[in-house]
């Protein structure tokens, strides 16, 4: 989707509570991954990964479990470092944890001893409450601000985690199967929310998932990670917002799935 299209969609939105991210302070980053390898002891997880991600692009990485998807995400975020090759974010090599990146994990990982609002405000400095409340508003949970995470449902917790990731206006959002543990309907809701948020707030998104349908529904580009390297890159140019169950999307999903299963044989 072009910037123009994105604006049109934004204007056409009915959600008046939304305030788009302001100014040039929040610009998406470019990620260049070149010849990245990672091994744990003698066990190679990634052998040769090459991928360039444009600023503001939504890329999904799919693959079998244990193929190194999450490892790749950790390398990009600076939680871990490649054994070989390098990762450049906006031209700078990742040498420590990226302050402009936020991760959403499969489990929401909310601090159980902090109320929802405080969880969203974690790590924020200064006047954080208004910003945190606003972020909760965006995910539709402003009324649960004073609750303990323990009383929320799985989907609600993930929405809080999304608010927490977005409140600091990240330039890069890394999604590590964040919807994997949700039931099918909640997952569709969350996919729509993620797509919405991504198209309104300007950031680069990298989604790791084993759900090809989800990857196809959300991403501009789907890449398949196999035996430590990328084996397929599939562009997806469908109009946004995408409709679940769209036939052409289903076709692409079928192709990618066939590829994945074939590779496994």
């Amino acid at each position: 989707m072009t910037v123009k299209e994105r604006e049109v969609w934004e204007l056409g939105s009915t959600d008046k509570l939304w305030t788009p991210a302001s100014g040039a302070a929040n610009t998406a980053v470019e990620v260049r991954i070149s010849h990245v390898a990672k091994h744990f002891g003698k066990h190679p997880v990634l052998t040769d990964v090459n991928l360039d991600i444009r600023p503001g692009e939504f890329v999904a990485i799919v693959g079998h479990s244990g193929c190194g998807k999450s490892t790749l995400l950790r390398l990009i975020s600076g939680l871990d470092f490649p054994s070989e090759g390098r990762i450049l974010v906006d031209g700078r090599p990742v040498t420590r944890q990226l302050s402009e990146a936020r991760i959403m994990f499969q489990d929401a990982r909310l601090l159980p001893w902090k109320r929802v609002l405080e969880n969203v405000g974690i790590g924020l400095r200064g006047e954080w409450k208004a910003a945190a409340l606003e972020a909760l508003h965006r995910v539709g949970l402003a009324d649960r601000a004073g609750d303990w995470p323990a009383v929320l449902s799985g989907g609600q917790r993930q929405r809080v985690a999304l608010a927490r990731a977005l409140v600091s206006q990240p330039k890069l959002l890394l999604l590590d199967e964040p919807l994997g543990a949700l039931d099918a309907l909640t997952r569709l809701d969350m996919q729509r929310l993620v797509e919405q948020v991504w198209s309104r707030q300007n950031f680069t998104a990298i989604l790791v998932t084993h759900d090809v349908g989800e990857a196809v529904a959300l991403a501009d580009r789907v890449v398949v990670l196999e035996r430590g390297a990328l084996s397929l890159v599939q562009r997806i140019d469908q109009q946004r917002p995408r409709v679940p169950g769209d036939a052409s999307l289903g076709e692409i999903e079928g192709e990618i799935l066939a590829r994945l299963l074939e590779g496994n044989r």
Binding site: W113, G123, A150
Partner: protein, 213 residues
Amino acid sequence: MAATGELFRHIAVSTARAAAGFALGGAIGFAFGLLTGVSDTAARVFASSFQMIRNVPHLALIPLFILWFGIDERAKLYLVALGVFFPIYLNTYHGARTVDAGLIEVGRVYGLTRAELFRQVIFPGALPSILVGVRFALGLTWLTLIVAETISASSGIGYMTMNAREFLQTDVVVLGILIYALLGKLADLATVFLERRCLSWHPAFAMQGVETR
């Protein structure tokens, strides 16, 4: 005895000793527990020697303590502190070790400083376990103190009951025992209250009237 104020004097003396010993042993245990819980190096250095000392019944050290520190307040204070140290240390250590690694990672990703990570993630994560230690320790406090007072003291409830035994005042002995029970129960209630306050986020503690009652 209540009328002359003698009883209350004994209770006050014992309570002060218990509190001082608990504070001393608890503080040291807490500090070492966190240190060894957070740092692998510290764990290697201290953990095994602490485990060794822990298995010596601390009441067996009474003769040694009397030789070292005499029969004044210090011997009793240190003995109580020693008794309190281990449950607090062990539970703090265990609590800090078992804080969910995923949550610590979240703290790192969301840019918490080391101090913030400690205050917002590690300490609250270890707290349920620490409070279990506190509860154990409170019981041990009274136990240790009573034994210490029975052996060498000129005041306190332990002294009062021992003295009464010499004069065959069974009623005073029974009274002493009842007071121990009461004080123990009060200490326990205090921790239950503390758990409710500090762990209100925890589904198991948020419920009304569970635990002990």
